[in-house]
């Protein structure tokens, strides 16, 4: 049995944890220990080789990025069984839009959903801090659609030739678009190289231009401000029956030894992502807390949220050259800030990419004749001419209380802990609107195609249909302990020294990529922890 500990114990080493640890290291003198279930994965020096094999064969560039027996089941859209240093953001695309002010007050504005216990304005400084820590490159959109307190820390990713053409088309369709903000260094930043257009941001950036949490861990470990303990799965939090204070955590090594580990600390921070944070709270039930810790409201593991999308391919009478920097896109937040006085509710983002769909070589012509050699190339040259745009809108889905996971006794890890079984469910108001919302989005894309003299090639909702992307929830924040798990700062209503960071605390998931917000929310919590210790 090993015992480790520090004043502040952070569970999980994902992107939220990394930025929270960095904030705490700068704003407190307390010792910080971080416990991560998985090992370190592919070192930076090996990422060029990993990229090569990903491009050649589709191999996973992240060695040992999961534990064989620790997984969630059911509808786990947006979730992979990811457990290694840096968490899911070792794989992420680095796309970092902010939510819009409306997200925080849908109930006040539209009478649906739940207002967050804080506003966009309250979060703005932490958005800025997240953007500065991660080095976000972005272009300020029209302020009414894209409000922010300070400029982006890094200049935007340039709008490439293809996107310029698509931007003109969007303008014709009445849509304002701009360079999508991304965690990609457009100039050398904090030791990271300038982006080199390698175009494999998702899943692996060989140059280090894309922010990944291991960079922060490296710096924190080197500075000796943080001890990072890897390969250790926290399996229980132990609470004092009378005071509710967390007195320790217990877990096991995830290597072959399986050794027991005790983790001692004064302050415990759950930053283990949207599934594993509430999972640990439920697993930690005891006589004084028979429904799990922090669960007076019965809402731990509930109100799992996310958004869905409609995407499409549109053929246009333009001349594009697919492959210029295909992972970069244009964004518009025009429809995220729409108002619906007495009308139906739909809020969505809009993204535009170049696409090679329909522009590739083919084996047979329209008559079924085999195309070989120069005939194949001649046919391909014809097909390659012109342009295809990829469009996609994430739309806002409000979560049902019973959008949740349960502990599934039929699937257990090596220690016998039941794994989560996930079911996402739309709130009734979202469910009722869904057919209309999706048809509105398809109509928008049809209108856009028409405005450019083009044609819709395909329109589809995302693969798992019911699935929710950029999942959040499971420990929702609120002021009322009977309807929320943590307060507006992320502190558990029931345990004064237990905090939950980032995604799990969000009452809803907006309609754009969520990770920047998870980190900003985590930083807001870190600022409160720093004041409390």
């Amino acid at each position: 049995m090993t015992t480790v500990g520090g004043d502040i114990v952070i569970i999980g080493s994902g992107i939220t944890a990394a930025n929270m640890a960095a904030h705490l290291a700068e704003h407190t003198t307390r010792s910080i220990v971080v416990i991560e279930a998985g090992p370190a994965s592919t070192p930076f020096a090996e990422r060029t080789a990993a990229r090569k094999r990903f491009l050649a064969y589709g191999e996973n560039p992240w060695a040992r990025d999961h534990l064989e027996d620790q997984n969630a089941f059911g509808v786990t859209y947006g979730f992979s069984p990811n457990m290694h240093v840096g968490g899911l953001a070792m794989h992420w695309g680095g796309v970092t839009p902010r939510y819009s002010p409306e997200d925080f007050i849908t109930n006040s504005l539209y009478g649906i959903g739940t207002d967050w216990p804080y506003t966009y304005e309250d979060l703005d400084p932490f958005y800025q801090e997240a953007e500065e820590r991660m080095g976000i490159a972005g272009e300020q959109g029209p302020p009414a659609m894209d409000p922010r307190g300070k400029p982006y820390p890094l200049p935007p990713i340039p709008v490439n030739y293809n996107l310029q053409q698509l931007q003109l088309w969007a303008t014709q369709a009445g849509i304002a678009s701009w360079s999508c903000p991304s965690a990609k260094a457009t100039v050398p930043y904090q030791g990271r190289a300038q982006c080199q257009r390698c175009d494999t941001c998702y899943p692996v950036c060989p140059s280090g231009a894309k922010y990944s949490p291991d960079f922060t861990w490296d710096a924190l470990v080197k500075s000796k401000r943080v001890t990072l303990v890897t390969g250790t799965l926290v399996r229980r939090l132990v609470a004092d029956a009378k005071t509710g204070r967390i007195v320790r955590a217990t877990g096991n090594r995830t290597d072959a030894s399986g050794e027991e580990v005790t983790i001692e600390g004064q302050t415990f921070v759950l930053a283990a992502g949207f599934i594993w944070s509430p999972h640990l709270l439920l697993l930690s039930r005891d006589a004084a807390h028979p429904n799990g810790l922090a669960n007076r409201s019965g809402l731990v593991g509930k109100y799992l949220a996310g958004h869905r999308n409609i995407g499409g391919q549109i053929s246009l009478p333009l001349e594009l050259y697919p492959g210029l920097n295909a992972q970069h896109s244009l964004v518009s937040k025009q429809f995220q800030r729409a108002s619906y006085p007495g009308g139906k509710y739909l809020r969505h983002d809009l993204r535009l990419w170049e696409s090679s769909v329909g522009r590739g070589a083919r084996l047979r012509d329209d008559k079924g004749n085999l195309l070989l050699g120069d005939a194949l190339l001649a046919d391909w040259k014809q097909r390659a001419k012109g342009a295809t745009a990829r469009v996609r809108a994430y739309y806002d889905v409000l979560p049902h209380r019973e959008s949740k996971f349960v502990l599934d006794d039929t699937r257990k890890n090596r220690w016998g802990d039941p794994m989560p079984l996930v079911t996402f469910k739309d709130a009734p108001e979202s469910e009722a609107l869904r057919p209309w919302q999706e048809e509105e989005l398809r109509n928008l894309f049809r209108r856009m195609a028409k405005a450019g003299g083009g044609e819709v090639i395909s329109l589809a909702s995302n693969a798992n249909d019911i699935g929710q992307e950029h999942p959040t929830g499971g420990c929702r924040a609120g002021n009322d302990p009977t309807t929320s798990v943590v307060d507006g700062w992320g502190r558990a209503h029931d345990h004064e020294n237990l905090w939950v960071g980032g995604a799990p605390t969000q009452p809803s998931a907006s309609c754009c990529n969520g990770t920047l917000t998870f980190v900003a929310v985590g930083l807001r919590t870190a600022s409160a922890i720093a004041k409390s210790v």
């Binding site: 191999e59 534990l67 997984n71 175009d199 470990v221 303990v229 295909a326 085999l370 390659a384």
Partner: protein
Amino acid sequence: MSDEPTPQVPSRRAFLKVAGTVAATTVAASTAGVVACTPSDSKGTGEAPAATGGARGTGFDRRTLDALGEVLLPASLGSARQKGAVDAFVAWVDEYAPVAEEMHGYGYADIRYLPPDPAPGWRAQLEGLDLLARRSRQRPFAELDAEGRRAVVTAALAPFGSAAIPDALGAPHVALALLAHWTNSPDAWDLALGAKVARDTCRQLQGVERKPLPLAGGDA
């Protein structure tokens, strides 16, 4: 697939799933202690995926394969570039690591693996092409004239009626695999587009706003 553009990778085949339902059986009595770690430096404990691949020497009959390349690939490439494309294909097959872990997608939570070694099947098909040439035209495939080779390839590909070129790794015939490998290369895309786009190449961010230059020296 959702979040970002679908990367240019072979499609996923879920023929072999071992998502985390299997409980580990070996909890050995090791005394390994809890270690602090530096995640991304070269002393990190990650195992490079590159180390799992290896030159296996898949033993294609190069004479027949080169002849097949001459039928499939544009003659306007010139014989050196045709041969270069075949070399690249052979190297790619040689370096393949069967049943390696696929990149995890967005939208599923099971671990998926790449296919087993396709080389033996492709090698047999190559031999089959040669046998077909010998039986139907009384000469080895490599010794047939262009028209004879085309006829043999057309017959061999008759069962594959689809217009789409499959992913190279999932190609049900060696001819389709070779064709897919070439048509997926940045050079082939440049030829088709008539411009120097150099997809998948790492270079400067500067200049990305300019229209790509036409291919130097005309195109094939």
